[in-house]
């Protein structure tokens, strides 16, 4: 139910309040709109630039491309060293999302339904993995994955990203699972369901939204991470964000190409967010703390 509808009964009784409350709403809306404009300006500028030729970019300021060109995008879609970066990124991000969800689902169930020795400590330990400064840890990471023979594979990046995505997934999923009454589990066991069958056919469908939101957050944090991804790859699994550093050449920066590559890194995320837009907010509200 919307807030306006909630306020309605009171407003009917006291007409003076209508003006006051609508004035308040508009003040806050102005802040919101201004903020969104502030968010969109730099993004617009990059999109704008990606359709310009380098001559136009460097010759002066134009608010929209006067000679729109698709040259920058054409380079990216025809040069394998560019588009393979996108394929690599999407590959390891998907892999990471699947791994994170698979291991986090049973763990979240355990945290939401049972008390056991060390439960709080394990949870805190999971969270501390987000607090380690990456710079020095990169070297041991590199050595570790080199030693086990996973260096420059997609699975290496996917596994490394589990470090921060798994705790997050457990945390969000646990919130959604705690929203499902215990009685459902008990009824199912009385009806003779085994745990795996109950989990797969009864429980999972009930927390669909939670799984969607968790998948979104795993996707997002894995997609934006660069340091680990760059350290653990060289050629075969090189992410797009690392490829972007190539645009500095002898003739200076290729701004148009850089902008086009940037725009293309935003698109997958924007697409994913559209699918889970109604559940994003819910994902956080239910979390533990």
């Amino acid at each position: 139910m919307s807030k306006a509808a909630v306020l309605a009964p009171g407003s009917l009784a006291a007409p003076a309040n209508i003006r006051r409350s609508s004035a308040r709403v508009s003040n806050r809306t102005i802040v919101l709109v201004c903020y969104i404009v502030f968010l969109m300006l730099p993004i617009y500028w990059m999109v704008n630039m990606s359709f310009k030729t380098n001559e136009e970019i460097l010759s002066g300021l134009t608010l929209y491309p006067h000679n729109p060109t698709l040259r920058n995008y054409a380079i990216i879609f025809t040069d394998p060293s560019w588009y393979s970066g996108y394929i690599n990124s999407i590959y390891y991000v998907t892999l990471n999302t699947i791994i994170s969800l698979t291991v986090a689902l049973p763990a979240a169930y355990a945290f939401s339904r049972y008390r056991f020795i060390g439960d709080k400590h394990v949870f805190f330990w999971l969270l501390t993995n987000k607090m380690a400064p990456p710079a020095v840890f990169l070297l041991p990471f590199f050595q570790l994955y080199q030693t086990v023979g996973l260096f420059d594979t997609h699975i290496a990046v996917a596994l490394a990203h589990c470090l921060f995505n798994v705790p997050l997934a457990v945390w969000i999923l646990e919130g959604f699972m705690s929203g499902v009454p215990r009685e459902i589990d008990e009824m199912a066991y009385i009806d003779g369901y085994s745990f795996p069958r109950f989990f797969g056919t009864v429980f999972l469908p009930m927390i669909r939204a939670g799984v969607g939101v968790t998948a979104f957050f795993c996707f997002m944090f894995s997609w934006v991470e660069l340091l680990l991804a760059r350290t653990l790859t060289s050629v075969d699994a090189k992410p797009i964000a690392a490829t972007m550093t190539r645009t500095v050449s002898a003739s200076g920066m290729d701004w148009g190409l850089l902008a086009a590559a940037g725009v293309l890194t935003i698109l997958p995320g924007a697409l994913v967010i559209w699918f889970v837009r109604n559940y994003i907010a819910k994902g956080f509200a239910l979390g533990r703390v």
């Binding site: 291991v103 215990r182 972007m244 940037g262 994902g283």
Partner: protein
Amino acid sequence: MDKVQDNRAWFLIIPVFLIVAFSAVVPLMTVVNYSVQEIFGPGQTFFVGTEWFEAVLKDERLHDALVRQIIYSLAVLAIEIPLGILIALGMPGGRSAKTSLTLVLLALPLLIPFNVVGTIWQIFGRGDIGLLGATFRAIGIDYNYTNNSAHAWVTVLVMDVWHWTSLVALLCYAGLQSIPPAFYQAAKIDGASKWAVFRYIQLPKMRGVLIIAVLLRFMDSFMIYTEPFVLTGGGPGNSTTFLSQYLTQMAVGQFDIGKAAAFSIVYFLIVLLFSFIFYTIITRTGEGEKK
């Protein structure tokens, strides 16, 4: 909810435990190992005890970087938390097209890879080709983030606000959505002011999500690396060289692995300590209000 005591639940935790431990324990122990050794090359190491830790604690440049880092993180929190709350209060409720659009637009900056964020602002802030830089020049401010320390620092801060305030706003919005409509009706009947509604209904309901917001924003801003690296490279001078940047210079630039490792551990403990303090303060404050 009543939870059942059952230690067999550990079997459900094992996959998570193994997969996180694989990436967490070995690197952490390696760093601890480095921090007490002098390393000349592969196989040429010897034990130096706490020497690196002493060197780290006496390092003047490190103290500067730490002070700069703390000021920066506090500035980030001081701007992003109130601004995020304000934006969340203005967001439309319900399941309308307007809500969907607002959510998607707000979440957009969160989905941009960190170095692309730096790139966007690099382009946006340039005096000759960027909208922001050009606007400043047009109104007579000689804005240049590459050679003016103050401009560089503010640009990095504004970039962070641009990038992450949405997260705070989304979290607060989630908290606000969980308030039952009856609360607002009661406040209306009591003739509560706008401020009173915020102070006694909305703020307490946002406590849980605010803890998360403060912790996440603190941890991430305290370890910020990629964005300023792309935008300013830590300069001009040392004005935007934050702790991570300095650490990387030490580890990669000077190949001072032992000292950098000792520093990493100190760094990790600082983050842990601050997170714990914030957590305690916010939970305690909330407890007092429940009476």
